[in-house]
């Protein structure tokens, strides 16, 4: 499994170019222009910012089961022909499950909160909370999906956390 995703995302946050070299893949400079972290084989793919954005669609929240973070799995018409509805529904439902896991009240999260309270919340400065850990895994999952399923069709999914968990932004590029 390639580990350039993690390196690239941290390089992006620091605003520097990623010089991570992994066997067979030489990542290009981070492209902050589109806000996506694309690390690709320089020989096979063309630069992402040479492509024009054709359309942006936003998958809205599904509030039918309460305040929990869930996104609608309804297949948008703009993706017709590019992605199969099952693959799309699978991606969204996995994301929904991960968000449910993040917000779930379990014994470990309860203990974490209590311990944090007892230490005067200094514990929160030292460790990542459960929610943050799940968010990191969600970010990684989205990157994986982008690189395996969506980018070959010139579609990219943006992490909904950047928009405040309001919607999932899907960018469709021109195929030319």
């Amino acid at each position: 499994m390639l580990n350039w995703t993690k390196c690239l995302s941290s390089c992006f946050k620091l605003g520097k170019s990623c010089e991570h070299k992994n066997a067979g893949f030489r990542p290009n400079t981070v492209r902050p222009k589109l806000g996506f972290w694309i690390c690709y084989n320089a020989q096979s793919m063309q630069a992402a910012d040479d492509l024009l954005v054709k359309k942006r669609i936003y998958i809205q929240r599904d509030y039918s089961n309460g305040m929990a973070v869930r996104f609608q799995t309804r297949f948008p018409n703009e993706l017709d022909g590019k992605i199969s509805p099952e693959a799309f529904a699978h991606t969204i439902s996995v994301l929904n499950e991960k968000y449910q896991e993040a917000e779930q009240m379990s014994c470990s999260t309860y203990c974490e909160s209590c311990m944090a309270c007892l230490t005067g919340y200094l514990l929160l400065m030292c460790i990542d909370t459960h929610y943050k850990k799940v968010l990191k895994s969600i970010s990684k999952y989205i990157d994986d999906q982008n690189n395996t399923v969506y980018w070959p069709k010139r579609i990219l999914i943006k992490d909904p956390f950047e928009s405040g968990l309001r919607s999932i932004e899907i960018v469709i590029f021109d195929d030319n």
Binding site: N65, L122, F161, G164
Partner: protein, 310 residues
């Protein structure tokens, strides 16, 4: 190749009316004078208590008298920690919609609305969305400043010009909004302040009682005035912590509570966010997992950044 030293951080282009300190790590509302007043009030009270109590423990040699300043010190540190966390953390601000998202949403709503109609004139799309949560119908309102449909329980703070999740109220004493992410710190601040006040008040009264019979000196006069101030502030703090305990028990926010008063409904409203039971509500409000801040304060502005207002 862009030099990262020249790029702005996102907090420098933040559209709301907030103040940022420590290179974006600390976020506060614009008016912070009252916060400094609160901090100095608590500091002076505890400092005076230490000044008088240390004398008391040294003079009277109470058995286990050293516990008094230790407990007071711990309470004070916890209280200060909670206050600073409430004042300096992001209350749960929802980032504003980008212009593209806004345009997409308007198109979707217009398509839904104008499906049966043949007119081509521009009609503004409906600004409320009807959804059902756990059987209760709720209207999602559109925020014209942030250009989003506000999630349930969110509200727009006019002081900070931001939409805040689970908006409770804007507290001038704390110098920040109280929302989803800092409500527990606010609650613990108010509760620990109650205990601190009662603790200081109790021991000051016993101190005064001990010295009253012997002699009346200037220092005891000061202590008497100080006790009176403490006494009056206790009522407000105890009242506030009692009110917030009630809110925690019913899983409500101040905003929602105030709205039910103004609507003057006689029958008991079923709160759709009630977890079912006092203990469950307390756990949910105080111990549920906390999401990190959604406004990326310390990230860098990308080359194609467009301000949400344009």
């Amino acid at each position: 190749k862009s030099n990262h030293f020249l790029r702005n951080r996102l907090f420098q282009v933040f559209p709301g009316r907030n103040k940022f300190l420590c290179d974006g790590r600390i976020i506060m509302a614009r008016q912070t004078g009252i916060l400094y007043f609160t901090i100095s009030l608590i500091l002076i009270t505890v400092a005076l208590f230490f000044g008088f109590e240390c004398r008391l423990t040294l003079v009277t040699h109470l058995p286990f008298g050293f516990f008094i300043p230790i407990v007071c010190g711990l309470l004070f540190l916890f209280n200060m920690g909670c206050l600073l966390r409430t004042a300096w953390s992001d209350p749960g601000i929802i980032p504003r919609a980008s212009p593209e998202e806004n345009a997409y949403l308007e198109r979707c709503l217009q398509d839904q609305q104008g499906r049966d109609e043949n007119t081509h004139e521009y009609r503004p799309p409906p600004r409320t969305l009807d959804i059902t949560i756990n059987g209760a119908p709720i209207k999602l309102k559109y925020c014209f400043t942030c250009k989003i449909f506000r999630p349930p329980r969110a509200s727009h703070c006019s002081m900070c010009d931001n939409c805040v999740e689970n908006f409770d109220h804007h507290c001038p004493w704390v110098g920040n909004c109280v929302g989803r992410r800092n409500y527990r710190y606010f609650f613990l601040f108010v509760t620990s302040l109650t205990f601190l006040c009662l603790f200081i008040f109790g021991f000051s009264v016993t101190h005064i009682e001990g010295f009253w019979k012997r002699s009346k000196s200037v220092q005891e006069d000061i202590l008497l005035h100080y006790i009176l101030i403490c006494f009056f502030s206790i009522w407000s703090v105890v009242g506030l912590s009692g009110f917030h305990s009630y809110l925690v028990g019913r899983s409500l926010t101040t905003n929602e509570d105030v709205r039910t008063w103004s609507k003057k409904r006689n029958r008991d409203n079923q709160n759709p966010f009630d977890q079912g039971g006092l203990w469950k509500n307390c756990c949910y409000v105080l111990c549920s997992p906390l999401p990190p801040s959604m406004i990326n304060r310390r990230g860098f502005v990308s080359d194609d950044y467009v301000t949400p207002d344009s």
